[in-house]
């Protein structure tokens, strides 16, 4: 079992949902990213999504676009991102790390070289936003062979036929994009998310993560009631931008929000556990 599957199983057994922060690797630099990863684990997160910066992040809103620009300006690239994971792994062998980014840097490195280097660094899952399962056969096979999970997105526009195909290609968990839009957008329709997550559970046993548009503790708690994992990205990255230049304040701002979310998720009634109501029932 992969590190992701083990962690998701532990959470499921404990009746809890995973809290999954997203930060951009190299924003503002390598050392602060590694330190922040450890601090987030201390604040109670279960898995970390590490953004790989790309010059043309088509699926991201302005907050994460700017983080990518800052990281690239600081010299970040895919190899250095893997270096960050390797450094993190020296002190943390249990927290799963998922890389999230775009395909072209991986194409440039070469699928095989990337799969080998990423597995060697301790990466557990890879989500390439602009690589749908239709184009992903070779890449998915290489990731699996190297012991990593290919993570794929599902969205409000995904048809049932596509949903089945995507879940078949994925392992570890599937990631439901909770709104039509880019990262950091507002206006979540909670009932709609609950219905869609239920529909996903009808076609797969994989854990379901939900992300996009989750910016505060109450929202995280309501998401945790329906999903196995709650991903928070832009809300953290925005705090990092606000406290750029002050590593301590930056860390405190990020961990404070995560701790609030953790607490709200764990104390929320009707959270998603083994005894919970049929998956997908709106709660919170």
């Amino acid at each position: 079992m992969s590190r992701i599957s083990i962690r998701m199983q532990e959470l499921r057994d404990g009746g809890r949902s995973a809290l999954v922060p997203y930060i951009m690797a190299g924003d503002p630099d390598v050392d602060q990213t590694v330190a922040l990863m450890h601090a987030m684990v201390e604040a109670g997160v279960d898995m970390i999504e590490l953004g790989v910066p790309f010059s043309d992040p088509m699926a991201d809103g302005p907050v994460i676009q700017k983080a990518a620009e800052r990281a690239l300006a600081g010299g970040m690239n895919l190899r250095r991102v893997l270096g960050i994971v390797q450094q993190f792994r020296r002190e943390d062998a249990r927290t799963p790390v998922v890389l999230m980014g775009y395909l072209n840097p991986v194409e440039r490195m070469g699928y095989e070289a990337f799969a080998e280097a990423a597995a060697g660094a301790g990466v557990d899952g890879v989500l390439t936003v602009d690589l749908p399962p239709e184009e992903a056969d070779t890449f998915t096979r290489l990731l699996r062979t190297a012991g990593m999970d290919p993570i794929f997105l599902l969205s409000p526009t995904t048809t049932e036929t596509r949903m089945r195909a995507v879940c078949e290609a994925a392992s570890g968990f599937v990631y439901y994009v909770s709104l039509k839009g880019v990262t950091g957008a507002a206006s979540l329709d909670m009932d709609d998310v609950a219905r869609r997550v239920a529909a996903i559970r009808a076609v797969t046993d994989l854990p379901v993560g939900v992300g996009f548009g989750i910016s505060d503790a109450p929202t995280a708690a309501r998401m945790a009631a329906v999903a196995d994992a709650v991903v928070v990205g832009s809300a953290l990255v925005r705090r990092m931008e606000e406290h750029a230049g002050d590593p301590v304040q930056m860390r405190d701002a990020v961990t404070a929000l995560l701790a609030q979310m953790r607490q709200a998720m764990d104390s929320s009634e009707g959270r998603n556990g083994p005894e919970a109501t049929p998956a997908g029932a709106p709660g919170g």
Binding site: Q65, N104, E107, R108, D130, P132, E134, L153, S155
Partner: protein, 406 residues
């Protein structure tokens, strides 16, 4: 007049998943996958629908002003020496470029699909103007994304779009040029897929855009093929067209693909010279990669980050190229060459003074290469150059470069 009803054996590409050999495809986030499937289904349905084609042909004839002339540039050919050069006068279309052939088609499709809002990206502004023009005529809301630095260098086109009722949104991210405008248009589309139709202006982007835009632009080549046979009594020996994303080139080339004796030359912007690194020539000096929804040749660094391009012509200033061109390059069916800013400007002036035609700077790249090519050919041979747009939009650029204040 025939447009999309004229089918050729070469229509076999792309394959069912939008691939031209290893290129093309559909590399987008999940939210756009189903909207693209819907678009493809609608396109497959209407491309053979008699009512759709009748309305398209009506608009191309009476709104755009087709067919565009095939003009023998006799004086310019004589001064150049060698082959006879014919100009396919896309500059005489309404809005002054070939772009409108595609926007008329896509916006008719948008209406059939019940979409009420049109978005587009634009670099030089030609595609933005062509989109705003057709959206105005069809009474549809129109938003055009344009890089902030392009807005500065193409202000007349920005004003034109606004006169036509379009909202022009300045894109401040990344390099603030065409590629960033495309990113931003995609982000808009993701958030508004229910009522919005994204009119891509070139033969790039995720499937079905490269095929659909090609098909709408093939009217250029179908007309030219008929016209040259009527006028010269034979097929041309060579075709020449500039390539940014490559829509005017593919429109001219595609109907001739099965005519093996017809050579094809796509002309990329070599900017300050390929050797300087300041250019926009992915086919000449780039590598295959993934950008804007398709696999194609790109200008990228060793880390796979897209790098900034340079050309005096904003319409060629793009780090990618349509996937069918990537395929034609590798297959050896078309040859891709580079022309520098300086060479393009020389050809620009030469055509102005010998033929009374002010060409777009994009088209001037094709003219410059046609001159080089003609000089190696016999006077009984024929070259067709796609004069893809008129140069009024570029007079400020030329004046500035020559130290003249207008």
């Amino acid at each position: 007049m025939g447009t999309m009803t004229e089918q050729h054996a070469s229509d076999k590409l792309p394959d069912a998943r939008g691939h031209f050999g290893p290129y093309g495809g559909r590399f987008v986030s999940e939210t756009l996958m189903h909207p693209l499937e819907e678009l493809e289904a609608a396109y497959r349905r209407y491309r053979n629908d008699p009512d759709f084609l009748a309305e398209l042909n009506e608009d191309l004839t009476h709104f755009v002003g087709r067919p565009s002339p095939l003009y023998l540039a006799e004086r310019w050919s004589r001064e150049t020496g060698g082959a006879r050069i014919w100009l396919k006068r896309e500059d005489l279309n309404h809005t002054g470029a070939h772009k409108v052939n595609n926007t008329v088609g896509q916006i008719l499709l948008a209406r059939r699909m019940g979409k009420t809002r049109i978005i587009a990206e634009t670099g030089a502004g030609q595609h933005g103007v062509a989109t705003a023009t057709v959206a105005a005529r069809q009474g549809l809301e129109c938003v055009v994304y344009m890089g902030a630095s392009d807005i500065q260098r193409q202000s007349p086109n920005v004003f034109r779009m606004r006169l036509l009722g379009a909202e022009v949104v300045a894109v401040e991210s990344g390099s603030r040029t065409l590629k960033d405008a495309l990113n931003e248009a995609m982000r808009d589309w993701v958030a508004n897929v229910d009522d919005t139709f994204y009119v891509i202006g070139t033969v790039a982007g995720p499937a079905p855009y490269p095929e659909m835009v090609r098909d709408f632009q093939c009217v250029i080549g179908h007309e030219a093929r008929r016209q040259i046979q009527e006028r010269a009594g034979c097929l041309p020996d060579a075709l020449v067209a500039c390539v940014g994303g490559g829509s005017n080139a593919i429109g001219l080339f595609h109907p001739f693909l099965e005519d093996e004796a017809v050579a094809m030359y796509g002309v990329e912007a070599a900017g300050d010279g390929i050797e300087t690194g300041r250019h926009s020539a992915p086919l000449g000096a780039g590598r295959p990669g993934i950008l804007h929804g398709n696999r194609t040749y790109l200008m990228e660094d060793d880390d796979g980050q897209i790098i900034e391009t340079h050309s005096i012509s904003a319409g060629l200033d793009y780090p990618g190229v349509g996937p069918e061109h990537a395929w034609l390059r590798d297959a050896g069916r078309a040859t891709y060459v580079g022309v520098t800013d300086e060479q393009a400007i020389t050809a620009f002036h030469h055509l102005c003074r010998t033929e009374g035609i002010i060409p777009a700077l994009e088209s001037a790249h094709a003219l410059a290469y046609a001159q080089q090519l003609a000089a190696t050919m016999r006077p009984d041979q024929n070259i067709i150059v796609n004069l893809s747009g008129r140069g009024d939009k570029d007079i400020q650029t030329i004046a500035e470069r020559e130290g003249i204040t207008l």
